[in-house]
């Protein structure tokens, strides 16, 4: 992981250098605007975004429920940060799909592939399990569900990385892979504590 970070930093520097004169003047820094997606895309890009929209909505439902229950401060902070960052990601993804003239949700039930293990646990079942959990069991259930949920996000992002065409969507998939992997690290520590 260290080598990975070093590589990340090195690559980031390369990118910065490549931007060169295009970099904004620091003294006139402005709040960044929503990233735009190129008009070129393929079916994998659309499928990934549609699946991730649904997946994000399920995840947001889980972290919002956690807010109403007693959790440790670390868990509450993580859930809160996931909520706001995934809300922004969700808006970006919906904006790209709409801009392409595509619907923002998959046209089949997300559980349609469950019989061959290709798609994740349904949101309804996750939520039912979570609502049923009480007391100290809630935090354990929440973390184990969200860890599995974020593993699923990484699996879907891998599909986009392998088969997608749009560079911005692939960047987002990369962002999701990195972000969810780090979130899983935090949560595995919390659930084992």
């Amino acid at each position: 992981m260290r080598e990975f970070r070093v590589a990340l930093a090195a690559a980031a520097l390369t990118l910065l250098a490549a931007c060169g004169t295009a970099a904004p003047e620091q003294t006139t820094y402005q709040v960044p605007t929503a990233p735009k997606a190129d008009a070129t895309f393929n079916a994998t890009d659309v499928m990934f975004l549609q699946m991730m929209v649904t997946h994000h909505q399920q995840g947001l439902e889980m972290v919002k429920l956690a807010r109403t229950r007693g959790t440790s401060e670390q868990v509450a902070m993580l859930a809160g940060a996931i909520e706001v960052t995934q809300t922004t990601e969700l808006e970006v993804m919906q904006g790209w799909l709409t801009g392409w003239g595509e619907t923002t949700t998959a046209d089949h039930h997300p559980n349609a592939h469950a019989s061959h293990g290709g798609l994740p646990i349904t949101g309804a079942d996750e939520m039912a399990a979570l609502r049923k959990a009480t007391g100290s069991q809630f935090q354990t259930t929440f973390l184990n569900l969200l860890i599995g949920h974020q593993h699923n996000a990484v699996e879907m992002a891998r599909m986009e990385t392998d088969g997608g065409a749009n560079p911005q969507v692939k960047d987002l998939a990369n962002r999701i892979t990195l972000s969810r992997t780090e979130q899983i690290k935090q949560m595995l520590g919390m659930v084992a504590a």
Binding site: A12, N144, G189
Partner: protein, 266 residues
């Protein structure tokens, strides 16, 4: 502005090179607490694990094995007892919690210590719940033990393997993690507070102590693995930001469009 959204493809290549070994459909589940060896790798508490750190849910092999890695060469590190895996202190009864990423119909769940099967849960081909936990008695065992937990799939010849290192008795009834004497430095909760840049950033074992609001010195560089409080200020790529919502930082939560709810430029 491109830097705000573009994660370097080089980094992506590194990640996917590690992940490419197993297809997504082969990923299913593992024991998260007490932490299995693959969970310790994925959490960063144990380092140098190889590809298993990215897919702890993928230790799938033919049924009937009695090893930690399902016979998969790329995950052989899990079967290496010389790695001084940290053992979790437990009492005589332990609840094992599973993370599931796909809920295949299930034949059974088995728990072994050595050659002795200490617990067996028959599911008869049912689909498991969204979360699974089993309470297992360790009566008759004490000291350090390597427990093997197996998930036998109902409609395939495959199973999922987890080894869990336990320190039985001599501690409280709750499964709190206790670093073994030979554990890596990063497993020690209080070790080396000044080495933040090199510790694995998001392991709660090394989580920074909570601080009052606004005590990060202004101008400190944003860094992953840091607990920022509302009002804290950081510098990132030459721009100063103020934290809008307390959180422990990770890569991708640095200031950007996606994290405007966490960081506002000032």
């Amino acid at each position: 502005m491109r830097r705000l959204v573009a994660y370097p493809l080089m980094a992506l290549g590194l990640v996917t090179a590690s992940l490419a070994i197993a297809s997504p459909a082969s990923a299913h589940g593992y024991v998260s607490s007490p932490p299995s060896r693959q969970a310790l790798c994925a959490s960063g508490r144990v380092g140098d694990c190889g590809p298993i750190q990215y897919e702890p849910q993928s230790v799938e092999g033919p049924k009937g094995q009695r090893n930690c890695h399902g016979g998969l060469a790329q995950f052989a590190v899990l079967n290496d007892d010389s790695r001084n895996w940290p053992a979790t202190s437990v009492g005589s009864s332990v609840t094992f919690n599973w993370v599931l990423t796909a809920r295949h119909s299930t034949s059974s769940w088995e728990y072994y210590i050595g050659s002795r099967r200490i617990a067996f849960f028959e599911d008869g081909g049912r689909q498991p719940n969204a979360t699974v936990s089993h309470q297992v008695s360790l009566a008759g065992f004490s000291g350090r033990q390597k427990l093997l937990a197996i998930w036998n799939i109902g409609d395939t010849p495959m199973a999922f393997y987890n080894c869990i290192d336990l320190q039985v008795g001599g501690g409280g009834p709750s499964p709190t993690a206790a670093p073994s004497p030979t554990a890596r430095p990063s497993a020690s909760p209080t070790a080396r507070p000044s080495t933040r840049p090199t510790v694995r950033p998001s392991s709660p074992a090394v989580s920074p102590t909570p601080r009052p609001t606004g005590t990060v010195p202004g101008g400190a560089q944003w860094a992953p693995g840091t607990t920022y409080r509302t009002g804290d200020e950081v510098t990132y790529q030459g721009v100063r930001y103020r934290c809008r919502q307390s959180h422990t930082s990770i890569v991708t939560w640095e200031p950007s469009y996606y994290t405007l709810a966490l960081w506002l430029p000032i």
